[in-house]
């Protein structure tokens, strides 16, 4: 059973990697990061079948941290939109040398 949980989590994480590397819209990238965080939580819950309470507390903290990350990420996206009038990240290349 745990093999299948870990397999599903790994495939979810790989889909997140694919999304992060192909998306051009900053919100789309944030969605893919969410997918990866979700895969990690799934992994931890899978191991929680053996480890007990500690793994579940860890997942609880990880969920709260992800929410904080989304808040700051979306604030950055809104700031990017105010500065550039779009959120396509390949157009935001002012720091290129």
């Amino acid at each position: 059973m745990i093999h299948w949980v870990l397999t599903v989590a790994a495939v979810l994480f790989a889909l997140g990697i694919y999304g992060v590397s192909t998306r051009k819209n900053a919100v789309g990238i944030l969605l893919s990061v969410e997918l990866m965080a979700n895969a990690v939580n799934l992994n931890l819950v899978g191991f929680g079948m053996r480890a007990g309470d500690s793994a579940h507390v860890f997942v609880l903290f990880a969920i709260a941290l992800t929410v904080a990350e989304v808040v700051v990420g979306l604030a950055l996206v809104v700031l990017l939109y105010r500065t550039r009038k779009n959120v396509l990240i390949d157009l935001a290349s002012e720091l290129r040398g």
Binding site: M1, I2, H3, W4, V5, T7, V8, A10, V11, L12, F13, A14, L15, I17, Y18, G19, S21, T22, R23, K24, N25, A26, V27, G28, L31, S32, E34, L35, N38, N41, L42, V45, M49, R50, G52, D53, S54, H56, V57, V59, L60, F61, I63, L65, T66, V67, A68, V70, V71, V72, L74, A75, V77, V78, L79, Y81, R82, T83, V87, L88
Partner: protein, 167 residues
């Protein structure tokens, strides 16, 4: 055997929805598919005996994060339509990066012997509450400070009306 069949069914829909999140051409559709992914993950949590975390997942993610994401999209796109383009490029490189992660990970997972399933009893809210306010109290308090810092940071970042003038 039947829990594995139920898990397989939910996991199949979960992965199909995740593919739609990264492949959909409309950003709003991506967000809605992500909400399907998060709800199905909550179902998997409950199947694995983490009932409290399943509830938290639905309340926090599908209640909070999805709403926040839709707000973010509406604030940064054209407001007169829900057809927000979500272009992507470099499919080959992206798939290569994903496979470079997936192949070693999967082979490592299936080469490892995790031992037999112990079948621990489901972890309830009582267990988690006792653990959070007992041995993990310091981490819990640090987390509340971090959430406050994230909130203030987000307000400071988003409030600046014209960052070019350094107001």
């Amino acid at each position: 055997m039947s829990p594995l069949i139920g898990f397989g069914l939910v996991a199949g829909f979960l992965l199909a929805s995740a593919v739609m999140v990264v492949r959909s051409d409309n950003l709003v559709h991506s967000v809605l598919w992500l909400s399907v992914v998060l709800v199905l993950t909550a179902v998997v949590f409950i199947l694995l005996g983490a009932t409290f975390l399943g509830g938290i997942q639905i309340i926090l993610y599908t209640g909070g994060v999805i709403t926040l994401m839709l707000f973010g999209i509406m604030l940064t796109g054209k407001q007169d339509t829900v057809e927000i383009p979500n272009p992507s490029e470099g499919h080959l490189a992206g798939a290569g990066a994903a496979l470079a992660f997936l192949v070693p990970t999967l082979s490592a997972i299936w080469a490892t012997d995790f031992g037999p399933d112990k079948g621990l009893p489901p972890v309830t809210a009582k267990h988690i509450g006792t653990a959070v306010l007992g041995p993990h109290l310091v981490a819990f308090e640090a987390l509340s400070v971090l959430l406050l810092a994230a909130m203030i940071g987000a307000i400071v970042l988003a409030r600046r009306s014209d960052p070019g003038e350094g107001r």
